[in-house]
């Protein structure tokens, strides 16, 4: 049943996102073409070879591009909130909660599809950067730069860059899951109220944020006191400190995420209060 929920969730969200990403791709390719034909030196100091009309068009299309990217990012966040709130806690919830599915499947299907769209958003932004920069670098140069970055990193920190990147990716992943679950738990708490549920959800979110800030500050303070020396040092020791910070945050986010999930699930199972 989880697979079916994911399928329908993807269907419900892609009708909004596919046109947006289609528009983004078309705009990017259009901009790139105008740049290649009319203003090859658009980004460099010497703007001698550029055509005025092309420059105006590029000005407009880069503005559009920027608006679209911001719009898509905002839409992704809105979608994560709206699909969870509207589909589960308003009238649509009457259908969703009478399906023969487990409560955790409902939560997980929303979470996974939200994660997928967040990932698509990131990948698409990098893809547009890549399209813009096509022709301005050679693959050989790029691979050389990457290789030298690896060896530089190893020289300075005594650590493999790959290993560090895995830790970073894990951190970002866990951080994203925890922040989505924090939105979910706020919505779930908000629906316990009979009136002003959205206001209550925002209130819950703010309270959780404040509590987390306090916990974080205390954790950081404790951590800093024990590691004052390594913070001022360079090279491998400073790297150890940074690693501690990253992995510590990951661990903390895992704990928070589990907490948020548990509360969300319990409220949905035991204290469901549809309008």
């Amino acid at each position: 049943m989880l697979g079916k929920l994911i399928k329908h969730e993807t269907r419900a969200t892609s009708r909004i996102f596919l046109p947006l990403y289609g528009a983004l791709l078309i705009l990017t390719i259009f901009t790139k073409l105008v740049m290649a034909i009319g203003a090859p030196d658009f980004f460099s100091e010497a703007a001698s070879n550029n055509n005025n009309v092309a420059e105006i068009i590029l000005g407009i299309s880069f503005t559009l591009y920027f608006v679209l990217i911001v719009g898509i990012c905002v839409m992704t966040l809105m979608m994560i909130i709206q699909r969870f709130y509207k589909n589960l806690f308003t009238d649509e919830g009457y259908l969703m909660f009478s399906l023969p599915v487990k409560t955790w499947e409902l939560v997980l299907s929303k979470l996974l599809v939200g994660m997928i769209w967040s990932a698509v958003c990131t990948v698409m932004i990098f893809l547009t950067f890549f399209i813009f920069s096509l022709g301005t670098f050679s693959m050989i140069e790029l691979s050389q730069t990457i290789r030298s970055a690896y060896s530089m990193f190893y020289l300075q920190t005594g650590m493999e860059l790959n290993f560090f990147m895995v830790e970073m990716i894990l951190f970002i992943l866990v951080e994203t899951v925890a922040s989505i679950l924090m939105i979910y738990v706020s919505i779930a708490i908000g629906q316990l109220f009979n009136q002003h549920r959205i206001v209550a959800a925002f209130g819950a979110y703010i309270v959780i944020t404040i509590v987390m800030q306090i916990i974080m500050s205390i954790a950081m303070a404790v951590f800093a006191i024990g590691n004052l020396e390594s913070m001022v040092l360079n090279g491998s020791e400073a790297m150890t400190t940074i690693q501690w910070l990253i992995n510590g945050s990951t661990a903390l986010n895992v704990v928070l995420g589990i907490g948020f999930y548990y509360v969300t699930h319990t409220i949905m199972k035991k204290r469901l209060n549809l309008e």
């Binding site: 009457y94 259908l95 909660f97 023969p100």
Partner: protein
Amino acid sequence: MTILSTKNLTKSYGKKTALANINMEIPRGRIIGLLGPNGSGKSTFIKLAAGLLVPTAGEITIDGDAPGVDTKAKVSYLSERTYLNDWMRVSEIIAFFEDFYTDFNRIKAENMLKDLNINPDDRLKTMSKGTKEKVQLILVMSRQAQLYLLDEPIGGVDPAARDYILNTIITNYKEEASVIISTHLIADIEQILDDIIFINQGELVLSSSVDEIRETRNQSVDGLFREVFKC
């Protein structure tokens, strides 16, 4: 033989008690009217049976199990709200139901849509409230469920469609299935009911078969309702 049974079923919202100590056994093969004035606890009872609410005390079982994934697969629930996504076409909702409910009969749904002149390619957004309610009822009645829970199924539809819908309810359910209909439009559904349950302010007032009311009291259900709940 019992499809639904409750033991001291109680549900309160904060300090307010919506249902208090309800004990009942609902057999298979019956059409039961769950009748009571507004705010008497009808919807709460149906939501408990549908697994949308959890009892505060006591228990409710469907086919021997507490409400959960298993019972939801056997129960076809029509809420008093229009719960369908506005942006969907009727055909997409049919696909949705077909995916999640193994007992969903697509042909039955398509035939009923045809009878009520509803185009499967129409989006719900473009439909009137009454038409949406019809679509919802068609979906719910197209399942071969063991228990149908219909919360105010005919409130918003015109009298002609009302007759068609009541007819569908009688002809569609299997012998071993039961239908619980909550409504205050008693006169309209009286003809199809086998049993009635009167509830008021969360308490069970009366539970009887319709024949018994007619024979021993020489009254219609509507008449009895007006007498019991006289203001």
